[in-house]
Symmetry: C2
Subunit: 479 residues, 2 copies
């Protein structure tokens, strides 16, 4: 236990300094490292393996709903970026510019894509001619660059990995349906694969994506009561089609503008996992995306038969699960702390006495519960445990969110509630004016996160101006 | 058949204009499209699906040999790029430079990675402290940028997709072993998955990767007799470790420099597939990477029962294969030509008479052979056909290479042989001097492709200077 204590001591407690606790986990769990490229990180094998699992599951969900992967260039000529007015206004201030290729100065500067609407529009203008060519349901897994001033690993980096879906449809109805379908897929993924409850809603006008008619988002609440936007889905109407001259021959033989969407989620999901589930012993990984689902730690491994039995166990389990056997010469105590830090959902301990009794010990990471399990049913038991871990993690995260969600009727009530209870989601009514939106933020520190699809009636009037309310808004501080 | 004729007419014959034939296939098989970003392409769903299959297989081979995926930044600060002298000399002239981020001018320019040795070295300097940290066997799937003057889709583009492996080892022996292991994996992949025979060899000094001690490569011969480098594997010695100050505590408790390798292959493999296997009817895809392995074309599909039976057939086959049923209202003739253009390995035709007789017709793309197959054993038969197609394609490609490989003893013999027989591989002896290497190229037009591992004795003396020969070199024109 001396070893374990030492490792645990080496990360900051989340209650002492949440930001430092976060950074400690990123480093100690070997998820990412800093580089000499300011604001850009090196994603290490353990961190990247989580992303690979996220990709695999989401990619399967996208393909099951008819989407196809493509790959557009990483550069956008300045002249192309400028075609849609709102879009360029939103993105131009935060892009990286390539001005020289080899030794030659470029006539038209290229920006490194911050997002790829413009490139997809150009491509769609080339290939969409008739209603028979619609819809196109494209997606790409790439990285993008946004020149952020303040950066933190996974949460906000100048380069980040993501997927961006870009679709194009005959009718507005179909495009809106797609926007909602993809938001639902993201919510399903967060809840059923990352054990992370989310609120689905629409962004206010001032918070929309540059060039969108409507932006939908899912919002999750982190352990410290701050909100994190986990994914977004945008409906563009025919604005981009008009700006880029995309037209198709309709069923009625007329030239029409098609309707478009885009949707994306990023490596910041890994930051969300850390801050939703982690604790003072380190990372706690949702079983469905954990690179190692169960780790086998032999106890008294120098004794005859222990390593053999542990290897046998591994051979049985790896048929159905991602399993690691750690037979290194580190002490069991060191290993316990190490795999707790790495958030492995299930630990299996096996020593001479266990073998004698035909059993092993299973410890679940999220609640550190110990169970003695018969070796005869070990594979089945691991499956059950992983499901229990998932369910337990979801419940714990939901409880945190519920405990930290407050309904408020006045600005003063928001201020006093947050002061008393700490950060969280505030449900409060809103008249719909940008002025009130800004004022609430200024006075209370919490901004509009989204207008939840599931509306509640908190009061009749706007929390700020007292005029008749249009929506209940979910307010909060955001990552 | 009128429809079919029309589609086939629309691509240039490979004997008339091989380059135009290539471009026609890229466009008509919908592999890629041009963009307004000069030298960069949009990879379309059908082309990207081939790349996804390549990735999946290679990634499995890398992981089975202990490699892990990571992701480094896409930018390299100029100061970091300059740390290894040969490396910066080789790459600086062909990189894209980011000079502005947002509205701010950067102090240290960033290049978009042309390759990532420098970033991996920086990371290894951070994380490698002891022999216990070695080896690190890392790989990443990303895109890189090289500012090429002349570009062609897949073969040479300013941005291309690739994987780059970067490994670091205790001893030179281990690193050399790794370099060879990865070359063998690439050769295995090309031969057993892409049906493309390759020659394994070492590059001459003048043709080495910038910063490498030795570069190994696999070389394939395209249908037109030109060579294509399909993958490379580099041994770095401890040169990069010294330049980047990577040192580790050895087993003998001394500070030592580790030894490194890197290896990569790119989306140009898709160009290689086109030019190795394609014909005047379009693409011919190796079954193991084909997005659609078998296409079902119903004949007289308006007749009762035909579409039902075709759908049944699809349900049976898609358990084991990547299958498409085309029940669109295009004519069967149009569909035949379309899927020949797209290189689908097996076509299954099923009409009323077939159903009556409990059979279907299978046509293999590479040789257009027809077989009547019982519906009772259709799944098994598709499996057999796919293997036959793979074997047949490999044999055909090997025969082309053998027919176009010439052993020559003098420069004059090289000139007259190529004049008479057209481009191909020339096996000829070499003294080892760069002067002779350059002179052969100047006089004959063929350059050194590699020094094959499997040496043959063509004569005792250098094909150029007549002095004693050191190696047999494989010469050729290259893509």
């Amino acid at each position: 236990m001396a070893d374990q204590k030492k490792m645990v001591d080496s990360i900051t407690s989340m209650d002492v300094d949440f930001a430092q606790w976060y950074t400690d986990i990123v480093k100690k769990a070997e998820l990412a490292d800093y580089t000499s490229v300011k604001g850009c990180m090196a994603i290490r094998p353990y961190g990247y393996a989580i992303w690979e699992n996220i990709q695999k599951i989401l990619d399967g969900m996208f393909k099951a709903t008819g989407h196809e992967n493509v790959c557009m260039p990483m550069f956008i000529p300045e002249s192309l970026l400028q075609k849609e007015k709102d879009h360029v206004e939103g993105f131009a201030p935060e892009v990286a510019w390539v001005t020289h290729g080899g030794n030659e100065k470029l006539e038209d500067r290229l920006c490194v894509r911050p997002t790829s609407e413009t490139l997809f529009c150009e491509h769609y203008a080339n290939i969409v001619k008739s209603y028979r060519d619609l819809p196109k349901l494209y997606n790409q897994w790439v990285s993008v660059v946004r020149w952020e001033k303040t950066t933190r690993p996974f949460l906000r980096t100048r380069e980040f990995l993501w997927q961006e879906g870009h679709t194009i449809h005959e009718t507005a109805e179909e495009a809106i349906e797609e926007t909602e379908r993809m938001l639902n897929i993201y919510a399903d993924f967060c809840e059923n694969y990352l054990a992370m409850p989310v609120i689905k809603g629409r962004k206010t006008e001032s918070d929309k994506f540059a060039g969108a008619e409507a932006t939908y988002a899912i919002e999750a609440l982190m352990h410290d009561g701050k909100a994190l936007q986990a994914a977004t889905s945008h409906y563009f109407g025919d604005g981009f089609a008009k700006a880029f001259g995309i037209q198709y021959q309709s069923r009625e033989n007329k030239l029409e503008y098609p309707f478009q969407t885009s949707w994306g989620c990023t490596t910041r999901l890994i930051g969300a996992i850390i801050m939703t589930h982690g604790d003072d012993n380190g990372l706690v990984l949702p079983p469905k995306v954990a690179p190692i689902q169960a780790v086998i730690v032999p106890v008294a491994q120098h004794k005859p038969g222990v390593l053999e039995k542990a290897a046998e166990l591994k051979a049985v389990l790896e048929k159905d699960y991602r399993v690691k056997l750690d037979d290194s010469d580190n002490s069991p105590g060191w290993k316990f702390a190490e795999y707790e830090m790495k958030g492995v959902p299930v630990r299996i301990e096996i020593g001479p006495r266990d073998i004698e009794n035909g059993q092993c010990v299973m410890v679940t990471r999220h609640n550190r519960e110990k169970t003695v399990v018969s070796l005869a049913s070990v594979s089945e038991e691991v499956g059950k445990k992983l499901q229990q871990v998932h369910d337990g993690m979801y419940r714990k995260a939901l409880e945190n969110r519920e405990r930290r969600t407050y309904a408020c009727k006045t600005v003063d009530e928001i201020i006093s509630t947050l002061e008393k209870n700490g950060d969280g989601f505030v449900k409060a009514m809103w008249c719909g004016s940008e002025e009130c939106e800004d004022k609430v933020k200024e006075l209370t520190g919490v901004g509009s996160r989204c207008i939840p699809f599931e509306q509640e009636h908190i009061s009749d009037v706007c929390v700020c101006c007292g005029k008749p309310a249009k929506h209940m808004v979910c307010w909060g501080k955001a990552y």
